[in-house]
């Protein structure tokens, strides 16, 4: 076997095994994707109930709460970046990080000090590599976040929000996460988490369905106190779930195109290998024919 032919054949082999790997990753991402979507659907009743209750309290009581109070002068802003733990998901993490960088620049432009909080190893690595200080980091759950983890993050953020400025407190908190639109589209998005704006819009009931006049047990303030942190937790949980679904969708897509590329490469290298084989045969034949001719010439000459 000629040298050229051997090179092509080994290339085809290595690309074939790569294709097997990317194909496996694609299948894994697809099956996790289904689970992530189920989890998102399962968390919907909770989010709906909380949002409805919060808007009810907000509509019928004029209670002020530390979590809804806008500070007159915002000097420190926290940014929570939701990134993935693992790579091989195309531009997923870098899109979120880029969106975060834009937001940070904007906040800095407004004269605010930015305090970063990060979930996901990719984001943490990005910040560590640049020797930036991170106020809080969590990792290990990016593709299957549980409520406990969301609660952890929420508790830490709420604590930072309620703390005095000298103790590292912040005046507002933004989340950068990836919204899952559908299997092909996931958009990095920035939302302001705190101070809370109880989002009207899809949460307010239609005009003919008036919210009932609630009694609050034990008191409106106590209900608000219990409800708002849960609302924050639920918002963060939702952001984590949406990001997980987006990550898996991005990974599935990246692995699909890697598999397609591998197929394309295999096809090209097999062609080249065939070409080299054919060239070798042609060369051998012409060598034989040439040799025979030379012999015949030598015989005729003598």
């Amino acid at each position: 076997m000629g040298a050229q032919l051997r090179v092509y054949r080994s290339k085809v082999k290595s690309v074939q095994s790569m294709k097997k790997i990317t194909r496996a990753f694609e299948l894994i991402a697809t099956s996790r994707m289904v689970k992530a979507q189920q989890r998102t659907a399962a968390s919907a009743p909770y989010a709906r109930a909380i949002t409805r209750a919060v808007s009810a309290v907000a509509t019928y009581s004029n209670e002020d709460h530390p979590l809804t109070k806008e500070k007159s002068e915002v000097t420190r802003a926290a940014v929570l970046l939701v990134t993935s733990d693992r790579g091989l998901a195309g531009a997923y993490s870098s899109n979120v990080i880029k969106e975060g960088e834009r937001l940070i620049e904007l906040l800095r432009g407004e004269g605010k000090t930015v305090v970063p909080f990060i979930t996901g190893r990719k984001g943490i690595a990005f910040y560590k590599f640049r020797h930036r200080e991170v106020a809080g980091e969590w990792s290990g759950f990016s593709d299957a976040p549980g409520f406990e983890q969301a609660k952890d993050v929420a508790d830490r953020l709420i604590e930072a929000f309620l703390a005095e400025e000298v103790d590292g407190g912040v005046d507002e908190i933004h989340i950068v996460y990836t919204r899952f639109v559908n299997m092909v589209t996931q958009v990095p998005e920035v939302v302001r988490l705190l101070p809370l704006e109880v989002v009207e819009g899809d949460t307010t009931p239609s005009p003919d369905e008036v919210l009932p006049l609630y009694e609050f047990e034990p008191s409106p303030a106590a209900v608000l106190d219990a409800l708002l942190p849960k609302y924050v937790e639920s918002r963060i949980f939702n952001a984590l779930l949406a990001s997980a679904a987006s990550e898996l969708a991005a990974r599935q897509r990246a692995m699909k195109s890697a598999t397609d590329n591998a197929e394309e490469l295999i096809r090209r290298y097999s062609r080249l290998a065939n070409n080299a084989r054919q060239a070798e045969i042609t060369q051998e034949i012409s060598e034989i024919v040439g040799g025979a001719n030379a012999l015949a010439d030598a015989g005729a000459g003598s």
């Binding site: 989890r39 399962a42 968390s43 009743p45 909770y46 109930a49 909380i50 409805r52 209750a53 009810a56 309290v57 549980g146 409520f147 969301a150 609660k151 919210l211 009932p212 006049l213 609630y214 009694e215 609050f216 047990e217 034990p218 106590a222 209900v223 106190d225 219990a226 409800l227 849960k230 937790e233 639920s234 949980f237």
Partner: protein, 93 residues
């Protein structure tokens, strides 16, 4: 008309169905909700929730919740808890 009850925890709907009586533990003590109850939003303490289903062929449901809140409006009862587990010996929905 029976109560429409939903017991949801953060990651799933634990129980839903029709009930004739719901007893929950609020921070001030136990509270029972029957059809026609005034709209209320109550903070729940960690404790048991008892749901008596409207139809007699379903067993009484006992669930343990780790705190949360309860909302009642137009005979719709929503019990929201971070964690909720249905106790042993009760029917699952």
């Amino acid at each position: 008309m029976p109560l429409q009850v939903e017991l949801v925890s953060a990651d799933r709907r634990v129980w839903s169905g029709e009930a004739s009586l719901v007893v929950v533990r609020t921070e001030d003590g136990d509270m029972g909700v029957m059809p026609g109850h005034a709209p209320v939003l109550a903070v729940l303490a960690a404790g048991d929730v008892k749901i008596e289903p409207a139809s007699s062929d379903r067993d009484e449901v006992h669930a343990h919740t780790g705190g949360g809140f309860l909302s009642v409006e137009h005979d719709r009862v929503t019990i929201v808890a971070d964690r909720a587990a249905i106790g042993a010996g009760s029917a699952r929905s």
